[in-house]
C-alpha cells in the first residue's frame, strides 16, 4: 500500500479482502506491504498458504477478490499474474523470475519493497535490518568511510559525487556540532523512486542516515520530505518512532554510547528546495534560495555547521552495503560507477514502473525488456532523462549505457533517474517548452540570470509553439543558454537549458517544422494543427455543427459543412463527435485538402 497502489484502488481492495475473509470465515493474516515498483499491475495482492505456492494477482478489483481467493484455495492459479518463487509443474502462469520485467532487475536496495510491511520495524529487522548499523557502531567511523571508499558509491541524487569523499571532508571538520540531512525532496516530473523507497522500506533510509551520522560525527539528522508526499513522511515518522523505541535511534544507540536523533521536515514545495543550500535555508526557516558555493555544506552548512546532504537512495545503498559488504556492491555496475540505480519509466511504454538495474545497463534494456516497449501502434521517439535538468536521448542512441559519464556525453544526465518516454505523438519542441515552464515556475528567482534566462527561453519556446517563431529564435535560445550555463548561481539555472539543447541537437527538424513550415507533425501544438473536413467520408449529418462549442462549423443538411478556421479553437470536439471519422486533425496552419478543392472550383 503505497501512494501509487492506493491511487489505483488498493484501499477498496483491502476493504473487500477484509469483508470476504470475514464472510468466508477464513483465519488469515492480512499484511499491507509497500510497492514493488511494477506500477502496471497495481493494485496487486499476494496469497500464501502453507503447502501452497505464493501467488501474485495483478490489477485486482474489489469484486473479483472472492473469486481469486476461492480459486487459490482450489489450487487453480490460472488467473494469477505470477508465482513469487518456483512455479508448480505444468502451470501456464510464469514465476516472477521468468518475467522480463523481473529477471532483468537487480533488486539490491528495493529487494524488500513489496515484501515487508513498511510500518513494522519487526519486519525490517526480520529481513536483516539494522545489522549494518550494528557493525558500524562497533568500529571506528574511519572504517565505515573506508568501506564506502572500497564500494566506491557515488551519490544517487544527480551529480554522482563519491559519497565517501564528502563524508570524509565533513568528518575532518573540527566542529563538534554537525548535521546530517536525507534529501527526499524529489521534485522532478516523472521521478518517484525516492517516494517509493520511503513508503515501502523507510527503515532502510533511516538506517543509512544513522550510519552516516555516526561516520561524520553528527548527532542530529533531518529527513527533508516534499510536503506533497504525505504518506512517505508519515511512514518515515512512524519508522523513527519505532526505531527510537527499539533503541536504534535516540540516546546511547544499541549501548554504543553514540547518540543521534532525527526530525522529519516537510518541504516548502518547490523544485529548487532539492538543491543542497536551498534545502538548508528552508530548514533554517528562510526562503529556499540557493547560496553561492563554496563554502560547501560539508564545511559550512546548516546553521553554519558542517552538514552532509545525501539522497535517500544513496542512504539506502549505504545501509545495504554495510549489511552485505562492499564486495557484492562493487561487483555490480561499470568500472567507474558501481552498484545499481533505480529508474522510473513513465510515458509511452506498456509497463510503467520503478526498476532497479546495475549501472551501465543500456537504455534499450530498460525501455524494451523491462518496460515492455511502446504501446501498440506507436513508436518510441526519444526518452527524457534526468527531468528538467536532463536532456533527451533519441531512439537511435538507445544502445547508450546508463552511467554518469556516458549520459553526460550524450547531453543528458543521470539525475534522479526519471525516464519520460516519448513517442511519435509527442512534440519535442512542446516537451522543451513544458520543462522550461516548469523551471521558470519552480526556480527560486534569486539570481538575475536564472530568473530572467528561464523566462526568456520559455517565452521564446512559447512563440515557436504558437507558430510565431523566427529563425533568430533558435539563435536567441542558444545565446541565452550560453549565458545561463556560465553565469547562474546554482545548478538549476546552469542546467535548465539542457532539454532545449538536446532537442535542438537531435530534433532540429522539428524546430524547423514549427518555425519555417508552421506545422507540428506530432499534432500537439494547437496553433500549428488544423481540423479538416473530408467531403468523401462526410454524410452531411451535421452532428459536428451541433457539437462545436464556438459555432465555427456551418452547413446544410446533406452537404459537407465547412469549418471557419478563424473561429476554430481546435478543441477537437467535432472530430470526436463525427460518427464517420470525416474530420481529421492535420499538421500545419491550413487545410490543404480544402484549399485544393477551392482552387479546383475556381478553375
Amino acid at each position: 500500500m503505497a501512494s501509487c497502489t492506493i491511487a489505483a484502488g488498493a484501499d477498496e481492495v483491502l476493504q473487500s479482502i477484509n469483508h470476504t475473509v470475514n464472510l468466508m470465515g477464513l483465519d488469515v493474516e492480512i499484511t499491507p506491504v509497500g510497492c514493488m515498483g511494477l506500477d502496471f499491475i497495481d493494485p496487486w495482492i499476494e496469497l500464501t498458504k502453507k503447502g501452497y505456492p505464493s501467488v501474485i494477482y495483478a490489477n485486482v478489483t474489489p469484486d473479483i477478490v472472492e473469486q481469486i481467493i476461492r480459486e487459490y484455495l482450489d489450487e487453480d492459479y490460472s488467473s494469477a499474474y505470477a508465482f513469487r518463487f518456483r512455479k508448480p509443474d505444468g502451470s501456464n502462469v510464469p514465476s516472477l523470475d521468468e518475467l522480463d520485467v523481473w529477471k532483468n532487475q537487480v533488486r539490491w536496495i528495493s529487494g524488500k519493497c513489496g515484501i515487508i510491511n513498511p510500518e513494522s520495524i519487526d519486519d525490517y529487522v526480520a529481513v536483516g535490518g539494522y545489522q549494518g548499523l550494528k557493525k558500524c557502531l562497533d568500529r571506528k567511523p574511519e572504517e565505515t568511510i573506508d568501506e564506502l571508499k572500497k564500494a566506491n558509491l557515488r551519490g544517487r541524487g544527480g551529480a554522482g559525487f563519491p559519497t565517501w569523499i564528502k563524508w570524509n571532508i565533513c568528518k575532518e571538520q573540527p566542529s563538534n556540532v554537525k548535521y546530517m540531512i536525507a534529501n527526499c525532496d524529489e521534485g522532478d516530473p516523472g521521478a518517484f523512486m525516492n517516494r517509493l523507497l520511503a513508503e515501502s522500506d523507510p527503515h532502510r533510509i533511516l538506517e543509512g542516515l544513522i550510519i552516516a551520522g555516526h561516520a561524520i560525527g553528527a548527532h542530529k539528522g533531518f529527513v527533508f520530505v516534499r510536503a506533497e508526499k504525505p504518506l512517505a513522511a508519515k511512514r518515515l515518522l512512524k519508522a523513527a518512532e519505532d526505531a527510537r523505541e527499539k533503541g536504534f535511534l535516540g540516546g546511547n544507540i544499541l549501548g554504543s554510547g553514540y547518540c543521534f536523533d532525527i526530525e522529519v521536515f516537510l518541504s516548502a514545495g518547490a523544485f529548487v528546495c532539492g538543491e543542497e543550500t536551498a534545502m538548508i535555508a528552508a530548514i533554517q526557516g528562510e526562503r529556499a534560495n540557493p547560496l553561492q558555493r563554496p563554502p560547501f555544506p560539508a564545511v559550512k552548512g546548516l546553521w553554519g555547521m558542517p552538514t552532509i546532504i545525501n539522497n535517500v537512495e544513496t542512504l539506502a545503498h549505504v545501509a545495504t552495503i554495510m549489511a552485505e559488504g562492499w564486495e557484492k556492491f562493487a561487483a555490480l555496475g561499470t568500472e567507474k560507477s558501481k552498484g545499481t540505480k533505480m529508474y522510473c519509466v513513465t510515458g509511452a511504454v506498456t509497463r510503467t514502473g520503478a526498476y532497479e538495474v546495475p549501472i551501465g545497463t543500456p537504455i534499450k534494456t530498460l525501455l524494451y525488456d523491462l518496460a515492455g516497449g511502446p504501446p501498440k501502434g506507436k513508436t518510441i521517439k526519444a526518452v527524457q532523462l534526468g527531468g528538467p535538468s536532463g536532456g533527451c536521448v533519441p531512439a537511435d542512441r538507445f544502445d547508450l549505457q546508463m552511467d554518469y559519464d556516458s549520459l553526460q556525453s550524450a547531453g543528458a544526465i543521470m539525475g534522479s533517474g526519471g525516464m519520460v518516454v516519448l513517442d511519435n505523438t509527442n512534440c519535442m519542441v512542446d516537451m522543451a517548452r513544458f520543462f522550461l515552464s516548469f523551471t521558470t515556475a519552480e526556480s527560486c528567482g534569486k539570481c538575475s540570470v536564472g530568473r530572467i534566462g528561464t523566462r526568456l527561453m520559455h517565452e521564446t519556446l512559447k512563440r515557436i509553439t504558437n507558430g510565431e517563431g523566427t529563425a533568430d529564435d533558435i539563435e536567441l535560445l542558444k545565446e541565452t543558454s550560453d549565458v545561463m550555463q556560465q553565469a547562474c548561481l546554482c545548478a538549476l539555472g546552469r542546467t535548465a537549458s539542457n532539454p532545449i539543447l538536446t532537442t535542438l541537437r537531435y530534433f532540429e527538424n522539428e524546430y524547423a517544422d514549427h518555425i519555417n513550415s508552421k506545422k507540428c507533425e506530432a499534432l500537439v501544438c494547437k496553433p500549428l494543427v488544423t481540423y479538416c473536413m473530408d467531403s468523401e467520408k462526410c454524410k452531411g449529418c451535421l452532428v459536428c455543427v451541433k457539437s462545436c462549442p464556438v459555432q465555427a462549423i456551418s452547413g446544410e443538411k446533406g452537404s459537407t459543412p465547412t469549418i471557419d478556421q478563424t473561429k476554430c479553437i481546435k478543441c477537437g470536439t467535432c472530430a470526436e463527435a463525427c460518427p464517420f471519422d470525416a474530420i481529421e486533425k492535420v499538421p500545419g496552419m491550413i487545410c490543404e485538402k480544402s484549399v485544393k478543392l477551392e482552387e479546383g472550383c475556381t478553375q
Binding site: 547560496l291 553561492q292 527560486c444 538575475s448 530568473r451 530572467i452 520559455h458 517565452e459 556560465q486
Partner: protein, 398 residues
Amino acid sequence: MIISVRSLSYDELKRNLNHDDKIVIWSCDTCVKHCGIAGMEKMTALEDLLKEDGYTVLKKELVSESCQINLAKKHKAAHEDIFNESTAIILLTCEIGYQCVKTVFPKKKVIATAKTFGSGNFSNKKGPILTSPLPTTGLAPEPEGYTLTMLVEQFNLYPKFFDADKEPNPEKITITVDGKPVEVKKDANLLDELSANRIRIPHLCYDSSLGSIGACRMCLVKIEGKRGLVPSCCTQIEEGMIVTTEDEEITKLRKSILQMIIAECGDEIQQSRDIRYWMRRYKITENRFSLPKKDEIVDDSNEVLVKDPNRCILCGRCVRACANLSGQKVINFANRGSNTVTITGLNEPFASTDCAHCLACAHYCPTNAITPKSISKKISGYPFWTMITYPKKLARTT
C-alpha cells in the same frame, strides 16, 4: 540631518578601554556617516587600528538610525549573545544615538566619540552644513550655516576620522589581477579590495555594508584554479590568487546579463546611475532580449517613501538593509521563479507596515525603485541624501 564632529582622539579612546575588553563597534548609517565619521568603512578602519593594537573586536554593528530606540533594541535582540559577551561598545553615532544606545545597554561601558551641534543639511560643494545649532552650543543662528571646518576650529575638535591620527596597517598580501601585482588585505572580500585598488567591477546586489548574496551575477571574474566564473563579491582573498577581471568572454557575459536585467525591468531603469554607467562603459545601445513589460502599481502610501516595483531588479539590497540595518524586516521577497517580487509587510500597503522611516532601503536601492518622497519625481542619479534636509523626525527628538 544631524551635524556631529569627532570629539575624541584615538589615544583618548584607548584610555577608555581595557586591554582585555571585548569590543563591539556600533555605527549609524545615516547623518554621522555623511559627516565622515561613521559607516561600515570607518568601522573597518577603526577595527583594523584596534586589532593592530591588540584589542579584541567581536562585531561591527551597522544600524540605520540609532536615534530610534526601538531599532536599537531590535539590534540588541538580534545578537543578544554577542552583546552579552561584549564588555565595551564604541559608538560612531551622534549624541542622540548615544543616549538611545546607553538606555538599551544601561550596564555596559558605552563610549561616545562625537559631539552633536544641531541639524543642518548636506551641500555638494561644502559638505555638511549646520543650519540650526542647538542652544547648548551657544552658536548664533547663521544664515549661511557653519561648515564642519568652522566647527572643528571653534571647538577644538578633530576634522577627520581616527585613521587620520594613525594609519591602520592591516596585514597585506599581493595577488595578481589582470597580470599586475596588487596589494590587498588578507582574508578580505575580493570585490572590496579590487574597488579599493580602483579596479572597477560592476556590481548591483553587493554592498560592503550589506554583505554578499551573489544574486545579480554582474561581478563575475575568472580565478585561476577555480571552475568557471566566480562572483567576486562572494570570494575571500587567498594567497597567490590570480584574477582576471575583464576579457572578451567576461565582457560579453556582463553585457548579456545587463541586457537581461534591462529587458526584465523595462527602459526606465536605464536612468539610474549604476545601470547608466555600465551601459555606457559596455557600449550597450540596443537590447538583444525583450520581455513583456511589468505593469505594477506604484505604492506611495508611505509618508516618506515611494516604491515603484516596475524599477525593481530584485537585487535584495532593500530587503537586507531593512533586516540588517533597521532590524525591522518590513521588506521581503514573495513568490518564486519569474514571479518573484518584493513586498512590504504581508503584501500590504507600505503605510500599514512597521516601517521606521529610516530610509535605509532607499539609500541602498541601485535603481531608484524605492525613493524618498522629496526627490522621487526628479529621479536623479545622485544619492538621495545630497538633495534633502530630511531629519524632520530627528529634529523632533532633539
